[in-house]
Symmetry: C2
Subunit: 256 residues, 2 copies
C-alpha cells in the first residue's frame, strides 16, 4: 500500500524542504522505503541530502520534458531506505516548456505511477508558487502535507492555499486529501507563535499534528553539511521533533 | 529623478515583503515620496500596511489585465509619503491570463511609466518565483534590491538569482542594474549567519549594504497589526536597522 504525498504551501520559507528532507529520512530510519522527489528548480531537497547537482547526468527535468524512464533518474542516497528523484537548475525552464506540451499537468503523474509500488511513501517537495510544477505535484499526489510557519504572513496565506487545493481537486485530482498540517519554527516564548497555533488548529480542525517543530538553529545548519538532522545532530530538539512527527504520521496511516 | 526598484529573490521567505514595507516607510519618514507596488498574489505588502483587501475595488490585477489607469488603483496609506498599488487574490490567475496577451512581459512597465515622475522611488515586492509576474517587475525596474536571509538555502540560490537577472537584462531590460544586496535575519551568535555574510560579500563585491538586518521578533509581529516597524515599535532593533538601511540607501543615490 503505497502513498504519494505533496509537501505544499505557496508561502515561501515555511519549512517545506526541511520537512521533506527530515520527515523522509526519519521514516527511512523507522524502516519505511521512501522516495523523496524534488520538483523545485531551487533544488534544495537535492542539496539538503548532500547530492552534488553538477555531477548528475539525469534529473526530474529529463523525466518531465524528455520523458525518460523515471528509474533512470532516481538515485540512492547514503541514508537508510531513502532514494531521491533530484532537481537541477534546468528545471527552471520546465514550466515554460511544459506549457505547450500535451497533458502538461500530468507529466509527473504519468511517470511516477510506474514506480509507485517500489516505495511505502513518496514525498514531493514543491516550489513556493502556483505554476505548472506545483500543479503537477498536486495532480500526482494522494494527499497534501502542509507546513505552516508560526508567523503572521504564513497564516494569512492559508485561505489561498485551500483555494488552490480545491481547484486541483475539482479539475485534476478528485481524490486529493489533506494528509495533515505541521506547524514549524514554533517559539513558545513568543505570543505570535502561540496565536498562530491556535488559529491554525481552529481552521484545520483535527488535521493538525500535535508534534510542533520548534525553531532550532541545528535544522538550519544541517543543510550546509548535506545531512538530514538525524545524521547531523540526533540529540537536537529538531531531530527529536521530526522523529516524533514521523511516528505520529505513521499512527494516522494505521487508522486507515 | 525618479527610480523604480524591484525587490526580488526567488528563494522563499528571505524578507522581500518585510524589506519592501519597512524600507519604503522609512524613506517616507525621511521625506521621500514613495510608491510601494505589490505584485505578489499573496498580497503580503498590502496586508503588512494594514489595508483590508476585501474592501478594495481595484488592484494591480485590474491594471495588468483590464488595463485600467494605474492612478485609479493606487491608494494612499496612513503612513507619511507612502502610497500603495495593492494586490488581491485575483492576481493568482493573472499569470495564466497574461500568457496569451500581447507584450505580456511589459504589462506593468506600460502602466507604471505614466506615473513614475510622481514619486522619488517606486519599490515592487515580487513573489518567490520566476513566472510572468516577477518577469514583469524585473522588466519594469531600473534596478534590483536583493534581500538574502543569512541561511544556507538562501545562499545556494544566489547563482540562479543572478542567472535570472542576466536573462532579463539580455532579453527585456538592458539597463537593469543591481541596486544592492541586504542581508536579513542576521544572528551574530551563530556561525552559519557569519559564514553566509562572508560568502555573500565575496560574491557581490561592493554591492552589499553594510547595514545588517538582525533577526528581531518585533519585525515578525508588526504585520499582524498592519503596521510598518517604525509605527509598531520605533525603539526595536528592527526599526533602527531599517532606518539605517534607508539612510545608507540614500547615500548611494547621491553618488550618482
Ligand atoms: N524549525 C526550524 N528551525 C530553524 N530553522 C528552520 C526550521 N525549519 C526551516 N528552517 C530554515 O528556514 C529556512 C526556510 O526553510 P525551508 O527552506 O525548508 O522552507 P521552504 O518552504 O522549503 O522554502 P521555499 O519556499 O523557498 O521552498 C531555511 O534556511 C531552513 O534551514
Ligand atoms: N529580520 C527579521 N527578523 C525576524 N523575522 C523576520 C525578519 N524579516 C522577516 N521576518 C519574518 O520572516 C517571515 C518571512 O519574511 P517575508 O515574508 O518578508 O519574506 P518574503 O521573502 O517576502 O517571503 P515570500 O517569499 O513568501 O514572499 C515573515 O513571517 C516575516 O515576518
Ligand atoms: Mg523549499
Ligand atoms: Mg513576500
Amino acid at each position: 500500500m503505497s502513498k504519494i504525498i505533496a509537501i505544499f504551501n505557496q508561502k515561501g520559507g515555511v519549512g517545506k524542504t526541511t520537512t521533506n528532507v527530515n520527515l523522509a529520512s526519519s521514516l527511512g530510519l523507522l524502516g519505511k522505503k521512501i522516495l523523496a522527489v524534488d520538483i523545485d528548480p531551487q533544488g534544495n531537497t537535492t542539496s539538503g541530502l548532500g547530492i552534488d547537482k553538477q555531477s548528475l547526468k539525469r534529473s526530474i527535468y529529463n523525466v518531465l520534458i524528455d520523458k525518460i524512464e523515471v528509474e533512470t533518474a532516481i538515485i540512492q542516497t547514503p541514508f537508510k531506505n531513502l532514494d531521491l528523484l533530484p532537481s537541477t537548475v534546468e528545471l527552471a525552464g520546465a514550466e515554460i516548456e511544459l506549457t505547450s506540451s500535451l497533458q502538461r499537468e500530468l507529466a509527473l503523474k504519468n511517470s511516477i505511477i510506474k514506480i509507485k509500488d517500489n516505495y511505502d511513501y513518496i514525498f514531493i517537495d514543491c516550489p513556493p508558487s502556483l505554476g505548472l510544477l506545483a500543479i503537477n505535484a498536486l495532480a500526482t499526489a494522494d494527499s497534501v502535507l502542509i507546513p505552516i510557519q508560526c508567523e503572521y504572513y504564513a497564516l494569512e496565506g492559508v485561505g489561498m492555499l485551500m483555494n488552490t487545493i480545491q481547484l486541483v481537486k475539482r479539475g485534476l485530482n478528485p481524490d486529493l486529501e489533506i494528509e495533515g498540517v505541521v506547524l514549524s519554527m514554533f517559539d513558545g516564548r513568543n505570543n505570535l507563535s502561540i496565536q498562530v497555533v491556535e488559529e491554525v488548529k481552529k481552521y484545520f480542525k483535527g488535521k493538525v499534528y500535535t508534534t510542533l517543530i520548534p525553531r532550532n538553529v541545528r535544522l538550519a545548519e544541517a543543510p550546509s553539511h548535506g545531512l538530514p538532522i538525524m545524521e547531523y545532530d540526533e540529540k537536537s530538539r529538531g531531530a527529536e521533533a521530526y522523529m516524533e512527527l514521523a511516528e505520529e504520521f505513521l499512527e494516522y496511516q494505521e487508522d486507515e
